[in-house]
């Protein structure tokens, strides 16, 4: 290890936590971590759920048996084509296989009755329902308050068998793949490839891939890797999609070797011969190199899509979805919290507004009251003034009258006196005269 150089890595894709790069000056030992992970994973054991879909008689059971080199399907456990059903069923069987200390619990899901009826409309529906129900089971298990064992029965890969007509995909094939490509990893296979010559096969493959692209069907894509070797292999596989396979339950001796194959009068079609068919590629890809990736894509993409659709519906049932498109990055609880906060502030505003209106109205009313009080007061004052004026007037009049009366009475008295005096004088005179 070189001596310490510090490189600061700013842009960090994981939530902005800045990490400083450090060089180590000696062996620390955490390079052992992968071994620890390895051991733990072996102890845990592995699970894989594989679905096989196709019309009867396409060699699905034989292929599965060939893939896993075991009698998954046997006379006691017949394959889908032997289990006659009136309607499409989805059935599963679990087998435990061990190899090199590794335990693998394999669940094979098949669909007897698929595509066998005269009217095959909606024959994909039971398949969709099955896949969704497994997602739902996982979602519920994951969302429990008490989580313990979380068995993973989600369908991680779907092998779709295409009949070797040589001409192209059937409408049923297209319908099925279009409806399932966003729920499960689809690997389309050309069944019974030994009925076509290599050139016919080549043509057929090109035609199928063209139609797949035309219909925008998303089949399973191999991930890009940094490793050159791996990329070379991946590119080789991509060129040969869809894989044309042959399966066999019988072992035949060819040139001293015991191989799986199909014996024809004109020769033996060997299952594991790369020039005869793509079986080996399929097995390598499905089991030896990409099984983990199939599980990861199911978990990180298909399941997450299901989950976010399911939970988004909870938040926005009844509400216009377009308004809330940007809010899927919150958990429903955070969403509710935010809504609650919004509601509180909305209520505050409403309360304030209502208060305002209320105050205003009260003020108005009070003002009116005051105004009418003032008015009434004024009128009262006026009336009072009026009355007082009248009073004064009356007083004046009375005084005047009194005065007049007094004067006249005074005058009368004077007159009376005069009269009295006059009559007395007369009396006196009269008396005098008489004398």
């Amino acid at each position: 290890m070189s001596s310490g150089e510090v490189l600061v890595s700013k842009a960090d894709g994981n939530g902005g936590i800045m990490a400083l790069q450090k060089n180590l000056e000696g062996y620390v030992g955490f390079a052992n971590l992968p071994n620890q992970v390895y051991r733990k994973s072996v102890k845990r054991g592995f699970e894989f759920t594989l679905m096989v879909v196709g019309e009867s008689g396409l060699g699905k059971s034989t292929l599965i048996n060939s893939l896993f080199l075991t009698d998954l399907y046997s006379p006691e456990y017949p394959g889908p084509s032997h289990r006659i059903k009136k309607t499409v069923q989805v059935e599963q069987s679990k087998v435990l296989v061990k190899e090199g200390g590794v335990h693998l619990l394999l669940t094979i899901v098949d669909t007897p009755g698929f595509g066998d009826a005269v009217d095959n409309s909606n024959c994909w529906q039971p398949v969709i329902d099955y896949i969704d129900s497994k997602f739902e089971d996982y979602l519920n298990a994951e969302s429990r308050v008490n989580r313990r064992l979380m068995p993973d029965s989600r369908v991680q890969c779907c092998l779709y068998f295409i009949a070797p007509s040589g001409h192209g995909l059937k409408p049923l094939d297209i319908e099925f793949m279009k409806r399932l490509h966003e729920k499960v990893n689809i690997i389309p296979l050309i069944a019974k490839a030994d009925t076509m010559t290599p050139e016919e096969c080549q043509q057929f493959k090109k035609q199928i891939m063209k139609e797949i692209q035309e219909h925008k069907i998303k089949i399973y894509e191999f991930p890009e890797t940094d490793d050159e070797e791996e990329m070379k292999m991946v590119r080789k596989i991509k060129d040969r999609l869809p894989l044309a396979v042959v399966g066999s339950n019988t072992i035949i001796e060819v040139n001293g070797k015991r191989v799986r194959g199909r014996q024809y009068p004109w020769g033996v079609a060997e299952v594991e011969n790369g020039e005869h068919c793509d079986f080996t590629i399929l097995r390598n890809m499905l089991i030896r190199t990409h099984m983990q990736d199939l599980k990861d894509v199911t978990n990180n993409v298909h399941y997450e899509n299901y989950r976010s659709r399911k939970l988004a519906a909870v938040n926005y049932n009844g509400v216009d979805n377009n308004k809330n498109k940007g809010q899927l990055t919150k958990s429903p609880l955070a969403q509710m919290d935010e809504e609650r906060r919004d509601h509180v502030s909305k209520m505050k505003k409403m309360e304030q507004e209502m208060e305002q209106v209320f105050e205003m109205k009260v003020k108005e009313k009070l003002q009116k009251l005051r105004d009418s009080e003032v008015e009434l007061q004024r009128r009262h004052e006026q009336m009072k003034k009026n009355l007082e004026a009248q009073h004064r007037e009356l007083e004046e009049k009375r005084r005047h009258h009194e005065e007049e009366k007094a004067n006249w009475e005074a005058q009368q008295r004077i007159l009376e006196q005069q009269k009295l005096d006059a009559s007395r004088t007369l009396e006196k005179n009269k008396k005098k005269k008489i004398f």
Partner: protein, 427 residues
Amino acid sequence: MAANEVDVFAHEEKRNLELGGHVGFDSLPDQLVSKSVAQGFCFNILCVGETGIGKSTLMNTLFNTTFENEEASHYQSEVQLRPQTYDLQESNVNLKLTTVHTVGFGDQINKEESYKPILEYIDAQFERFLEEELKIKRSLFNCHDTRIHICLYFIAPTGHSLKSLDLVTMKKLDSKVNIIPIIAKADTVSKSELDKLKIKIMSELVSNGVQIYQFPTEDEAVAEINTSMNTHLPFAVIGSVEEIKMGNKMVKARLYPWGSVQVENENHCDFVKLREMLLRVNMEDLREQTHTRHYELYRRCKLEEMGFKDTGPDSHSFSLQETYEAKRKEFLVDLQRKEDEMRQMFVNKVKETEAELKEKEKELHERFEQLKRMHQEEKKNLEEKRRELEEEMNAFNRRRVAAETLMGQALQGCSQQPFKKDKDKKK
């Protein structure tokens, strides 16, 4: 993820089949491992210990590098946590290491609240993960896992056993994080003192019910070493980044006048054991325990607190969607109720005030009615008086007229008589 026993799938109904050849799924662990390596690993260490006890030095020694760390002062008013994240690489393994140190731990006079910031930090990391897990659109596989995988508790080698602060803190943390207690600055303790100290510490931990991390012994590959290591707990460690020459090698050591203490000498201290256990053997187990035990416990408590249940009153189990829907309905009902309450309160207020104002209005009108009545009275009085005056005036006028008429008559009579008199005189 399935349980961790050997026959994992014992509870499943399945057939056991023999393989007729090499299928190739024995590469599954390799596939898993190479994916993990490509993604990179996260590991988060929390160091709890007093200021100056040697946390930073130990980290530097453990990881053979120099992490940035300013020396802390003793005058922090409260305990703080300082996380730092580093990208390390060894062969093809990328490790995102986060070291979190407590700053100011044990420096305050009142240490009752010392453990709280630590607990809050640990909970905050759980919360962060839980939030991501509960989002509608989430990216768990991309998420940087900041949950604390291991807490190294540094015990001061002074005294004869644990301080009460140590016991209190560890007791609070033991259900939240994997704790490995270590005796720091072990070069100040002699061998016999150390043995006694270790026994004393372990017995105190046991008698106080503190759950420290036990190295797992189920995996045969590591059972032996782990079991033996469990008996050496707590590890007595020394940290040093200085190197001195021993023989022809440079070794990490501390130089004293009486000798040099070599960090990686197992006779001198347990550093090598710690490194072995922590990094080379049990790192993955620590991460797993954090996720499946401590995080699950936090999650369970948090969800129960928020009112989530697994089964309803009639033991009908709820799906997550039902629970969310129910919660949401409850929530909306609650909001509506609050709104209605507020409106109702307003309506009541308005009614009250209206009634008050009406009262006031009535009062006002009554008052003025009264005044009006008063006025009417006054007016009546005035009218009365006026009438009286009128009558008087009329009476007076009549008198006057009568008097004048009388006077007129009298005057006439009088005027005749004097004539007669005069007539008489003249004769």
